[in-house]
């Protein structure tokens, strides 16, 4: 089950938007295989009758009051951006050549 291939790692890297180098893909394929073999142990005890827990101390329906509070100004929100035009974040083309 933990037979992870380099092709899989390359695909995962694409999904995660990390441009891994071929060397990194090779290295990570080996490491992930080892790690997955170890963590697969969860299946030894995770039987169908056990319900999953997503959160250690569950709270339900947490909403804040619907009132206007202090928020960041546009200038503050844009201050850390690599590129901004004063009112908006600036990015390069969103559509690739294939679109």
């Amino acid at each position: 089950m933990s037979d992870i291939t380099a092709e899989q790692v390359a695909h995962l890297a694409h999904l995660a938007r990390i441009a891994l180098t071929p060397h990194e893909i090779e290295h990570m394929t080996r490491e992930l295989g080892q790690i997955m073999s170890a963590v697969e142990r969860v299946n030894e005890v995770a039987t169908p009758d056990v319900p999953p827990t997503s959160h250690p101390i569950a709270l339900h329906n947490v909403f804040r009051a619907d009132v206007v509070g202090n928020t960041l100004t546009t200038a503050e929100a844009l201050a850390g951006a690599p590129e901004a035009d004063g009112t908006r974040f600036v990015v390069s083309a969103i559509l690739g050549e294939e679109q």
């Binding site: 992870i4 790690i35 997955m36 969860v42 056990v50 319900p51 999953p52 947490v62 850390g80 690739g96």
Partner: protein, 530 residues
């Protein structure tokens, strides 16, 4: 507010009277002692701050606990506290006491990197709630402490800015991910620090540096402004040299925050009161059979069992308990954490903050994003993002993430069953003393196994404390003992921690850190990591 004219009529920082201790003594004082002297006017906040900044200047080139030192800002804040106190303003007892902040917490106007290149130079526009509360109490932030990148690691070697060194032995790790906070406190650079604990990142560094670290109940301290690693596991907590000091900081930062939807609405009892009432008579302490194994280093085991004997002499009852699913906790953790981290770290997209790397010849926003994340993330972060992406991908979700969530239920059930028999659980905080820098860097699984005793608490949301238990006879390095309590019973941990600390200090004739090497006599290492 203070009256501006009052400052001129009162003693300035250089004239605090004959009771003014020397700087070398000030840095040795606990936060509680500093507070008493500040309130009594025996010392000024500026003197206290300057003494600690001087200490940082002397030893941090060697220890490298800090990523950013807020020299000017700290002195300005300290002068302001002195002015307000002199004007008769009623201040929090910790006003004027220095604090170090783990670089995972956002600080308005102060760089915050989470130990990552991708956030190099970022100045947050807001304070984390935990930080805000310490500022409101008048504490003086001296700077930001080093950490494994995005808190992923147990050694601080995964910081993009170079490792922190253990003040007990400069060739060894200070623990992680909060090695900077623990080392800063252990090296007397600061009396108190904030940490974050996702799988042991406060408690394991405390264990290897002879300091105190607490992971509060999940939701006790706001996570607002804590750069998220794994949102269902992360918790902010105090790092200190004594249990009382940790309690003082805990009382400042805990409590409901509407900015964090997982923040508990509970009213919390005073942890300081719990320390003052510390008594283990009649307390039932459970030893987890599964964590008291032969894989624990002999000196760690020796000090652990000696501490238990001491607690027994003070009236505690020691009981063996089973937690059969704890052995599966690491496996579950290393599925849940990467899964949540892969999602949380998606925000580093080269658009809103941090680094942007454009591929040669330009590219679409997605290509820019991928190039930025390749350049900005270190190897451990990439490893866990890919691992998390895999664990969450269709076809594997049930077998990995789904099963891990079931193990989480089983670990919680183990805790529930154990706490029907005992009031707290005790374990060695980590299986070994500080290992050597570089020793486990190329072996991720071996690094992960170091968290065996700390992870169950994060999976179940229960609080945990690590208190110094002595030095391992074979290597002379610090050993910690961990106590775990049911959710919301953080005060119980402060009680048992303080009682043990009192008994051990009596045995040692003072705190364990009094036995630490004198850093000013150590030759600075080559190749500083600044």
């Amino acid at each position: 507010m203070s009256c501006p004219e009052a400052s001129g009529t009162l003693a300035g920082s250089g004239d605090s009277g004959s009771g003014n201790p020397a700087a070398s003594e000030l840095i040795r004082l606990t936060a509680a002692e500093l507070s008493a002297q500040l309130v009594a006017g025996e010392v000024s906040a500026v003197d206290v701050t300057q003494a600690h900044l001087d200490r940082i200047n002397t030893v941090d080139g060697t220890v490298h606990a800090f990523l950013h030192i807020a020299h000017e800002r700290a002195l300005t804040a300290a002068a302001d506290i002195d002015r307000r106190r002199a004007a008769g303003e009623k201040l929090h007892p910790l006003a004027g006491v220095p604090l170090a902040i783990k670089d995972v917490l956002t600080t308005r106007g102060m760089p915050t990197t989470a130990g990552s290149r991708i956030l190099e130079g970022w100045i947050p526009p807001y304070d984390a709630t935990s930080v805000r509360r310490t500022l409101d109490a008048g504490m003086i932030p001296l700077g930001k402490t080093n950490m494994d990148e995005f808190a992923m690691g147990s050694s601080t070697e995964h910081s993009a800015y170079g490792p922190t060194r253990n003040p007990w032995d400069l060739d060894r790790i200070p623990g992680g991910s909060g090695g900077g906070s623990a080392a800063a406190v252990a090296a007397f650079e600061v009396p108190l620090a904030l940490g974050s604990d996702t799988g042991g990142s406060i408690r394991q560094p405390a264990h290897v540096t002879g300091t105190v670290g607490i992971k509060p109940t999940y939701g006790a301290v706001s996570r607002y402004g804590a750069i998220a690693l794994a949102s269902s596991l992360d918790q902010i907590g105090p790092v200190s040299r004594t249990v009382l000091d940790a309690a003082l900081l805990h009382d400042v930062i805990a409590g409901h925050d509407p900015h964090d939807s997982t923040s508990l609405p509970d009213a919390w009892p005073s942890m300081v009161e719990a320390v003052r009432r510390a008594d283990v008579a009649g307390l039932r302490i459970g030893i987890v059979r599964q964590l008291d194994s032969s894989s624990v280093q002999s000196g760690v085991s020796t000090r652990f069992h000696e501490a238990l004997v001491l607690l027994e002499k003070n009236g505690a009852q020691i009981v063996e308990v089973d937690a059969p699913h704890f052995e599966h906790a690491i496996a579950a953790y290393y599925l849940i954490l990467p899964a949540e981290a892969s999602s949380n770290l998606a925000k580093f997209d080269s658009v809103r903050f941090g680094l942007r790397v454009t591929p040669p010849g330009g590219g679409t926003v997605e290509q820019v994003m991928a190039a930025t994340r390749e350049a900005g993330f270190g190897s451990e972060v990439k490893r866990r993002i890919i691992l998390g992406t895999y664990a969450l991908s269709s076809g594997y979700y049930d077998a990995y993430y789904g099963s891990a969530q079931k193990v989480r239920t089983l670990v919680q059930r183990d805790f529930t069953a154990a706490f029907e028999k005992v009031d707290v659980l005790a374990t060695p905080t980590a299986p070994t003393t500080a290992f050597k820098l570089g020793e486990k860097l190329d072996d991720p699984m071996s690094m992960y196994l170091n968290d065996v005793a700390t992870i169950p608490a994060n999976l179940a949301g229960v609080p945990g404390i690590s208190v110094p238990a002595g030095l391992a006879p074979e290597d002379g390095l610090p050993v910690g003992i961990q106590f775990l309590a049911p959710a919301r019973e953080d005060a119980r941990l402060y009680g048992v921690g303080a009682a043990l600390e009192r008994a051990l200090h009596a045995q040692w004739g003072g705190p364990l850190l009094a036995q630490a090497p004198d850093l000013t006599r150590m030759i600075p290492l080559e190749g500083g990591h600044r």
